[in-house]
Symmetry: D3
Subunit: 194 residues, 6 copies
């Protein structure tokens, strides 16, 4: 099956932007990202960004393949430095994002949809979004972002599994619960954040 | 007391950027943002951005005054479209942000500090951050962001008080807890998100 | 087969950039791009850009699915307003681009490669590039560009099938051939440029 | 008094922009800017920009505290690389800027206002502007600019105290006065430009 | 003489930028800028910017022809929104600019040079600069700026001929002279600023 | 004759942009670009860009003088990283560009015009364009682009004289001709691309 492997073999050259002194004469680079264990229950992400492919420097774009085991979730997160466009190539995904507070009548509005192969969805820059495999089999999607290194803030991990931890007081106030609830959630996280 | 009122009296003119056809000939505009109730337990935010002051259009900057009652928290949130610089002018704040996953050895690192009047702190674009009043009296800070409308994603509200709500299934998976915990947290939120 | 159809069902909202006064409160939009005739000999392109999806406005990204019948060519062209990243999901493509004259020792260098499913390739902004299906069956690829409407200059069509036509004199000088050769090439083009 | 000291204690991390290859994993930095002599007659400026705080690199914002002794003037100047937003926290300031010649009916228009604590004013990028303490006591303001190093062109110093000096001929023509007037003005400046 | 007339006959089309929804399909536009009186003693400027040529919208560039009568001066000014490159095509010009205060050891440094036909000089964005015809005959130069409407702040006019005027108090403090000197300079200016 | 020589004598300083940590304190640089042989039949180009003048770094602009012998052609090409503005200072040029496919009813539209001294023409970023000397004597033009190194893709050379060559199969398909025609065109090109 053609989609089982995702080998990056990329030949690129660095372009000159108006901000940096550089030439467009960069040799070929090859890179291979292995997917270690496609059978686990976590979403696996194979990345083609400037960290894995230095030649992407100044080009302002990156691409990722996501493999979702059945029922797996790409937890609510934000990309601090890019808008994202997603296309489903296999399986069925329930996706959504929440609007920011910059629109008075629209704050914290959830936009969501079930996507099938060929469907496209857009996540505007910096907004909280997620994808859930709601099909019975695995799902596969490609996403692209208009940044060479858009970053990711996995919200549950950032809040409950940071190093050092965010104080119980802050999280209890934030979620308006007792600190015991915070401690309980925190205990669910082991330091295996990807 | 000079800081009790925060009246915006702004005269601005719209500048032409290289992207838009406009002149720098805009009449005076005045605007006043009242702080309704400085004695409540919530952080109050008075905003000078393009929504309250249309003349800021194309200027790429905004400013906010935050008043923190004792023990109040500006809950973990992100600004999707701007970096933020904060200066404390009264009181004592504990502030912090969590790094994204774009740095392999640095993901979910918490950087935090206690700030006193005159202290400055920077929150890089799009990262999760918070401020807590850890003093016995009120605290006041000014923040500026390099966007005319940077937006805000209050994370607890976005996740547990969106409209329509994010499904229990997603939140339970994300926080690795039972749906009852999700329902409990959700019940704490009334639709009073600011 | 999941890849046979490519239906765009996109829910997006317009984000405010620092250059424009707008809110992130845009209603849902759905859009469906049909692929008329997957059996012809031309590359078919299904586009998710700001022209087909107005809500992409200000988001700075677009996505395309390309279906290559056997032996079909996406002729040498440039995208005037974006860098491109390509991932092959089916079949085998020979792809390449030519460097510009901005690097003294690198001008007109061809970088090319044969790609298989999962392979990724990057075409820096504005450079001449092409893709040829070198397999025995159809090929499918997704491309993303960091522009909401990157545009395309199909070089043979732009030179030999423009309206009004470029004069024979210019094309004969440019390609250093007799005008009869120019007329012959021009006669091959009927006004069916896509 | 909380505003007497202005100590920068800044923890920041360098963000990756789409133009540069960098990670968001930067260690803590502390910096303290002392205000030597708050009783002199000159405006004192304490800066938090990329020169005093290298970690601001790529973040596109800077902040300054200005202390104005009674009757002191922040002389007409321009910031070549940023728009400025100002908030008064103590005292009374008369501020203004002059429009450029890009608007036919608006060239050299002065927009000015007297500001009290809490008032905000915006100076569009690159325009000539000034602030004068018109109260009986000191005044304090914070300003932010959307550049990590916006620069400043103090006009009287740039014209009459540059190194080497601008020729008398040019200044006499520019101000339409005799060279003796130029020499007189120049003599008023000693090389104490800050 | 080929340079005596400067007729703009410009065919342009508006390009789509990543920030705005637009197509590259704009009809032809012609525009003619007459030079009324080439024999006066003032520098005359014929402009090709977005105000005279709306089709330049979003293209981020503008061009100007300057005709300098003998001994005429393009007075010290700044362009708030663009860097400038100048080429002399006739005559002899003495040109210069003054650095900003952003470099500790370089503030208020004057860089100047005498230019002959074919010479090129660059004025970085926002810095104070001037050109003086130091030859016996007229001089002609073309300048280009990386903005569709870069604007201009003629410093003597902005300071001494604004509407309403800047107060004597401010100008006297700024130039460290008596108000009588300010009044004298102001009297030299009649409201004929171009 | 003032236009016969084109000597670059440039004093510039590097400006800080919001993206890079740098000061505006750069020493003087002089540079001289000789035009070897003004009598040949090729267009000669003297460049003032960041490659010939490193101090242009971050300033986002470049300037070129083009000398066109009678009947010479600046062949169809694109500039991948900048919009171009052209002014004719001597002779008569026929110029044009072809629109991209991003506008449904406008794709491959040719916009062209005959220009005389003083005429200005704009070539939007990334579009295919050309200039032909249609006068009996030499022609001279200056062009400016809003990039410090905009690059150039000379289309005939890029397609028929690249290293290694683009395969006959691709070019024959692209131009819809027999491979013999491709070989014939290729044979016209010797490796003297500039």
């Amino acid at each position: 099956m053609v989609l089982k492997s995702f080998i990056f073999s990329i030949a690129i050259m660095t372009l000159v932007t108006s901000m940096s002194y550089a030439s467009d004469s960069i040799p070929l680079q090859d890179f291979c990202v292995a997917i270690n264990d496609p059978n686990n229950s976590h979403v696996t992400i194979a990345a083609a960004n400037v960290r894995t492919l230095p030649g992407l420097n100044t080009l302002g774009i990156s691409l990722y393949r996501l493999d979702y085991p059945p029922h797996s979730l790409n937890a609510p997160h934000t990309n601090p430095r890019g808008s994202e466009i997603l296309v489903v190539v296999e399986g069925m995904l329930y996706v959504g994002f929440v609007t920011s507070t910059s629109a008075p009548n629209m704050k914290n509005r959830l936009f969501s949809k079930i996507l099938h192969p060929g469907d496209v969805f857009v996540f505007p820059m910096g907004l909280i979004h997620f994808q859930l495999n709601v099909g019975k089999s695995k799902a596969v999607a490609f996403i692209a972002l208009n940044s060479q290194l858009p970053g990711g803030n996995n919200i549950p991990n950032a809040l409950f599994d940071s190093h050092p931890p965010i104080s119980d007081d802050i999280l209890a106030k934030a979620f308006q619960v007792d600190k015991k609830v915070v401690d309980y959630i925190r205990s669910q996280f082991e330091s295996n954040n990807y």
